[in-house]
Assembly symmetry: C2
Homo-oligomer: 341 residues x 2
Amino acid sequence: MSISEPAARPAVMHDVARLAGVSHQTVSRVLNGHPNVRPETRDRVLKAIRQLNYRPNALARGLVTRRSRTIGVISFDTRLFGPASTLLAIEHAARSAGYAVTISSLANLDAASVRSAVAALAGQPVDGAIVIAPREGAAQGLRDLRPGLPLVAVEAGYGGEIPVVSVDQFGGARLATVHLLSLGHRTVWHIAGPADWLEARDRVEGWRAALADAGAAAPPLLRGDWSPESGYRAGLELADNPDVTAVFAANDQMALGVMHAFYERGRRVPADVSIVGFDNIPESAFLIPSLTTVHQDFDEVGRRGLKLLVDTMDGDSERVEKPDPVPAGLVTRQSSAPPAH
Amino acid sequence: MSISEPAARPAVMHDVARLAGVSHQTVSRVLNGHPNVRPETRDRVLKAIRQLNYRPNALARGLVTRRSRTIGVISFDTRLFGPASTLLAIEHAARSAGYAVTISSLANLDAASVRSAVAALAGQPVDGAIVIAPREGAAQGLRDLRPGLPLVAVEAGYGGEIPVVSVDQFGGARLATVHLLSLGHRTVWHIAGPADWLEARDRVEGWRAALADAGAAAPPLLRGDWSPESGYRAGLELADNPDVTAVFAANDQMALGVMHAFYERGRRVPADVSIVGFDNIPESAFLIPSLTTVHQDFDEVGRRGLKLLVDTMDGDSERVEKPDPVPAGLVTRQSSAPPAH
DNA sequence: AGACGCAGTGTTCACGCTAACAACAAACCG
DNA sequence: CGGTTTGTTGTTAGCGTGAACACTGCGTCT
């Protein structure tokens, strides 16, 4: 034990200072880009930093500045294409802005799961948070646990007291429905998402509005849970009804399930029935037949969401612009066509 | 300015201590579950904590304990089903183990993108990291920047110096190929993933091995980039070749592209050509026809990956077990059948 | 009865960093 | 040419927590 190993502990600011022959404060000034450091001194410090492979301790810095330069994201099931895309865009935008991202995802939407995810994030040192969850409970829970924490919701509908960035769900659903009606279909059946999802509600409204505008009767609503299975089950219910010539599913996965059900029952798409989805997942263009759907620009939503959050965090006061909804766009493919006769 | 607003700054340990009439150290002891605190005192402290909505400052705690109780995850494109599922499983396992998760994802796999993601994570206060990226560069880069940081790779093949948790890609590819051969196909064509992906390489090897075992000739290899488009392009190349009766695609999305190409060219699946994919994405069961594929248990991989990392971080020394690969399983559906004649 | 152990609690220090202020030289001004 | 500014650097004081150590009072042992 007489010869002590040179501990492999990472270098700290003081080590850099010693090697460069300056005080640690000068090192700090160099790191934070302060003016009034002689260029020669700066170079010595930078060289010492490289030589020691020094990197600042973010914890210590955060403790004194009271800012962690980290944001939190609470997201519903990140295996779904929409949340996953949004999360990815948020993360990249955050990195560009110099923020790290801590995630907390929900396995499902029951209250316990939401509470667990929110509590986990509330304990983290984050400067702000983005909620990618369709139920207001999530954002509200976080607001209760961490009052004053800047908060933005994405993909969550409008109207709450928390700023929201979202695709225009209502307009998108309307586009889909109008498209089918304009092809000549008498009416359009709708397979909605879960009733407690704001997005699902907005799409139902858009569908209803388009039908009403066209003077078409609204058939009974069917409900799924976004999964292909649930679309399949709904499809089986519709398959034997000859009145059904056009179906608008609230997402592409359910549309796929519907197509499969019709396929099994021998109803041809689009010859007998037209189908339109929502999301434009990468698979949509290659389904058989390829799927007409409503495109959502998740990247744009993610970017705007992060920008809104950063503005809120930096903003001297509440000078933050209220964002417009991101427009949705119809992508016409093979699964929609005029009715048979 | 004579009456100062009661600043809304969050309570700190000292505030709790004062309210409970104890020292801050006693509060600390209560929080960390130390023995030797009188039950009555503990109750007073807990009450004060609730009353002030106090939550410990993770930054300060991390500074003194030198542990942030946060792990980092570097992941390739989290919009893909595999990485997304793995990430989700890691995150949930991490939360159960009391860790937060900071993510850093790659837009693509070029060196600059990897470097950016790795550098971003290296600056974060993480106790360990999991790399969900198929190229060794990512893990190696992190190792260079943060020597000594516990590191685990998932979904990244075997053989490096970094511990890996992975599905048995070789075995899975073999299963798929053997399945097609045993249906009576003379040989099996393969559409591989990018050459620099370890997973893609393992699947090629498994395919080759199965062909060799059966004494079947190995047709020329086709390459895609995992996307449906690339599968579609490969499918167009194969569609006009009557020798092609069985295709094994390295993932489900490419298999979908192949199916679409064959559909356009009038080759029926499975009557004329059988197709098998890999991953078992949720859509597979509902494609038309439904897709035979190889199932990967991403949840299990994520869980094991986190466990391995936590063991490495906690472990007194390198007493960490070397994990077995997670077995893959064949899921037989409609897209594979005996050849026509 | 005096030494000792132990539960329960308080005091002090250190973690690594930034902010505030102090110190000093050189340059500038009237 | 003395006082003041300006540029550059060092010194000190926290940020909020946990660990180490000190202290108290009470019961136990010899």
